[in-house]
Symmetry: C2
Subunit: 220 residues, 2 copies
């Protein structure tokens, strides 16, 4: 009975935590992680300030929980479907890039890519929050690089000599499209990025049929 009561409390706590985090990741994508305060989140969620503080602890612990929640959403939206739907190699690279563009264009986070926003917010602010943002961003870039290396090993990118360099170029296009589409309230930058991605892959000798769908709206 005592155990059931504790489990019930924990469950309600988990639900509250999830609800508050969902609101917090969205808010942080617009106003930044530094603008998150326990007080403001409590107001928005209709909880007491002390209740939210009990769930998350310090402001830094809250920010770290928000980065972790954003990382999971990113993986579920961009990486996991590509892993489920495609074989390793160039097809997976193309789906990863398309999923990223969709993730930004669909405003999975209200302020566009959470990591594009918070990377710039924290690029000059060393500390645990920046380390968590770096870890999540590196994980994505490492996964994209590994996928490119599979395509390279399979002979699908004959003119490529440096997968890491190509990852730098790809994420440059993706993040620029994200920022510009928000700044100009326009979908045109996604077209620019798609053109850049396709022409870069074409120059590396990729099969045209495989790369044609990059950045195209996907059939559901």
């Amino acid at each position: 009975m005592a155990q059931a009561s504790i489990d019930g409390r924990r469950l309600r706590g988990d639900e509250s935590r999830r609800g508050i985090l969902a609101h917090a990741v969205d808010t942080a994508s617009v106003d930044g992680l530094d603008g998150l305060t326990i007080g403001r989140l409590a107001d928005a969620a209709g909880h007491s300030k002390s209740g939210v503080a009990t769930l998350f602890g310090s402001k830094e612990q809250l920010q770290l929980a928000v980065v972790a929640a954003a990382r999971e959403i990113f993986i579920d939206t961009v990486v996991a479907p590509a892993r489920a739907e495609t074989e390793r190699g160039l097809s997976r690279v193309c789906v990863l890039l398309t999923n990223w563009l969709d993730y930004s264009r669909d405003r999975v986070f209200r302020g566009g890519c959470f990591f594009a926003a918070t990377s710039v917010e924290y690029d000059s602010k060393p500390g645990a929050v920046r380390d968590a943002i770096i870890a999540a961003s590196s994980e994505w870039e490492d996964y994209l690089t590994a996928s490119i290396e599979y395509a390279l090993a399979a002979g699908q990118l004959p003119a490529l000599d440096d997968a890491r360099q190509l990852t730098f170029e790809f994420v440059s296009f993706l993040e620029a499209a994200n920022t510009r589409s928000l700044l100009y309230s326009s979908a045109e930058p996604y077209g620019r990025a798609s053109t850049a991605l396709r022409s870069r892959l074409r120059a590396l000798g990729a099969e045209p049929g495989l790369i044609a769908a990059i950045g195209m709206p996907r059939a559901v």
Copy 2:
């Protein structure tokens, strides 16, 4: 005599304004434009809050003055030297790109490129401040596009068909290098961006001798 006294006051006002703005652009490049307050700037400059308010007016007027000051620094550092030193065409394009990389690497603003930082901060916040950031960024991109078009018209980029597309790709590389160099406290991203810029221009048929110096430290 009255006139001299007014002129003297105006002169001291101009000096105070310049000093406060120099501090404010630097601070905003790290903490964002939204973090600027009349009170904090007054503390940092050793002025009274009402004195700073008299010089700048509202917080939004202060933010707009900061964007205008950052625009002037950007033009003086990146654009004006390229105009003075080179002829129109591919040489000028190469010097513009190199100057931009130097401007970011030299931390002309403590938090790296002022416009890369504030574009992302304001991309989801419509209003006069965002409009001013958009105007300054567009001015730079238009100038780069016009410079590319001169190179195109002069036959220096035989395989290019869309100067605006190339500008998108170039600024993608520049801004990604800026953010990553800050985030990872590393100069490597400038090498990545330089490689990307040169290989893109090479693929468009640019004379190798003209593009070799992109991103190289410049002789003083």
